[in-house]
Amino acid sequence: MSEILSYSFMQRALLAALLVGVLCPTISFFVVLKRLSFLGAGISHTALGGIAIGLASGLDPVLTGSVFAVGTAMSTGHISRLGKISEDTVIGIFYASGMALGIALISTFKGYYPELFSLLFGNILAVSIRDLQLMAAALAVIMFFVMAFFKELLAICFDEEMAVAGGLPVGPLYMGLLAATGLTVMVSIQLVGVVLVAALLVIPGAAAYRLSSNYRSMFAYSLAIGLAGSFGGLFVSYYFPVPPGAAIVLILAAIFALVVAVKYYLEKLN
């Protein structure tokens, strides 16, 4: 254990696991309750387009990726709210187009591009101090938003029509939630990559939902499962030749399967 902590890259990786392990389950709680799981997958794939624009133009890829991810999330919400095209159709189109843009731009780079693999599947061991600062800033902004408007966001997830009738600013709060989801996706790509990040946005909340009949315990379970996944995956990848991103997602999937199996068994017993 002390050996792990003696490497500076592992110290940074552990800190990243902590930050993302808090951020993703927080957003996952709302993603599951508002049924935005597909949106999470859509944003992450679109983000590849934004990152590639950054790499091709010399701008900061994290910045262009963030703008792309937040932009996709908010425009999906906006277009589907106009009521002409359904949300899953919009996501389905953004999903593939963003990814295609990313692949098209990256293929123009000369020679082999090794970072592509990190982008797709994450590389938590290569996290820099600057990445950590960005993650911490995103966490601070998103946590402030979520905590300040927690009861309003919960009410919107439960019954949007009633929230509108009560005079709550449903449109801006929903857009804020989508932007927070986009930002979370972007900072989490470092950890698990474009392809796997959706699991971090869905599994903690989905497993916690099955364990709780009250939102307070659901939120706590979601956090515990998210942290167990991110730290567990990191340790597994240290001792076994498995990439950390894949290990994190596999642990989360195993926790979900266990929760479903135990719940099924307990229900059968009663």
Binding site: L33, G83, A148, F149, K151, E152, L154, A155, C157, F158, D159, E160, E161, M162, A163, V164, A165, G166, G167, L168, P169, Y209, S212, S213, N214, Y215, S217, M218
Partner: protein, 260 residues
């Protein structure tokens, strides 16, 4: 004198017309509801009943005509929202949501004024609202574990939490079995008597609401008839509104009819 009118007529519409997405959803609706009156709004699916409630809340724009709710009209309509208890249709909420009965009722207290303020877990308004619908012993019960009828009572408590003078209920009876429907309507009648509440109750099910209503408003995009239940049920306009034939079911109370 003016004050008296304000108290007497809680809702007044005059040739109200509402367009949504280029289509006329409601046309030429003229009716009024006085304090302590239960008005049943009936009509087939897609008749514009929900739109009428949303217009009363100031959630959809009025194209033509006038609409006055609690003495407010036009852009001022949204000012009366805190004084209105609303119960949207059943499909508007998530049935398997991790909230307790008290949490659900507490969402009825939210308004722009409660932003950044904590609503205490043990809240007097919440327990009183649950008490009013006979659900006080379910305060901490998970909402998802309640029966359909119990959930509807909790949602009614949510609409009552702000102690409104006007209640707008959208198909509160749908999906309930007959005894649950009867006891829900009975509860509404009690609440109306006790607190002198004005209630607008929307339903496509004429039979279940007619006995409790003081007045019925029959619409199918446009208004077909507005009046006392007995008159409405005997009116030939009713068949026209539903575009089907009605027959009397019982003549005992003079209000029961069924349709083919």
């Amino acid at each position: 004198m003016r004050r008296e009118i304000a108290v007497q007529e809680v809702i007044k519409t005059d040739q109200l017309t509402v367009n949504l997405g280029g289509k006329t959803v409601l046309e030429d609706i003229t009716f009024s509801a006085a304090t302590g009156e239960l008005t049943g709004v009936i009509g087939p699916n897609g008749a514009g009943k929900t739109t009428l409630l949303r217009a009363l809340l100031g959630l959809v724009p009025v194209q033509k005509g006038t609409l006055t709710v609690l003495d407010k009209r036009g852009n001022h309509l949204k000012e009366v929202r805190p004084m209105i208890g609303y119960m949207p249709q059943r499909q508007s909420f998530e049935r398997r949501f991790p909230l307790s009965a008290a949490d659900v009722v507490a969402t009825g207290l939210l308004s722009p004024r409660t932003t950044f303020r904590r609503i205490p877990e043990k809240n007097k308004q919440v327990s009183q609202a649950l008490g009013a619908v006979g659900m006080e012993s379910y305060y901490n019960s998970p909402f998802q574990g309640l029966s359909g009828g119990e959930q509807q009572r909790v949602l009614l408590a949510r609409a009552l939490a702000k102690r409104p003078g006007l209640l707008l209920l959208d198909e509160p009876n749908s999906g309930l079995d007959f005894p649950a429907q009867q006891s829900f309507i009975e509860l509404l009648r009690e609440l109306k008597e006790k607190d002198n509440l004005t209630i607008i109750l929307v339903s496509h099910d004429l039979v279940s609401i007619a006995p409790a209503a003081d007045k019925l408003l029959c619409i199918n995009r446009t208004m077909h008839i507005h009046g006392h239940p007995a008159e409405v049920l005997r009116s030939p306009h009713l068949d026209e509104a539903y575009r089907c034939q009605f027959d009397f079911l019982t003549t005992g109370g003079g209000v029961g009819r069924c349709w083919h």
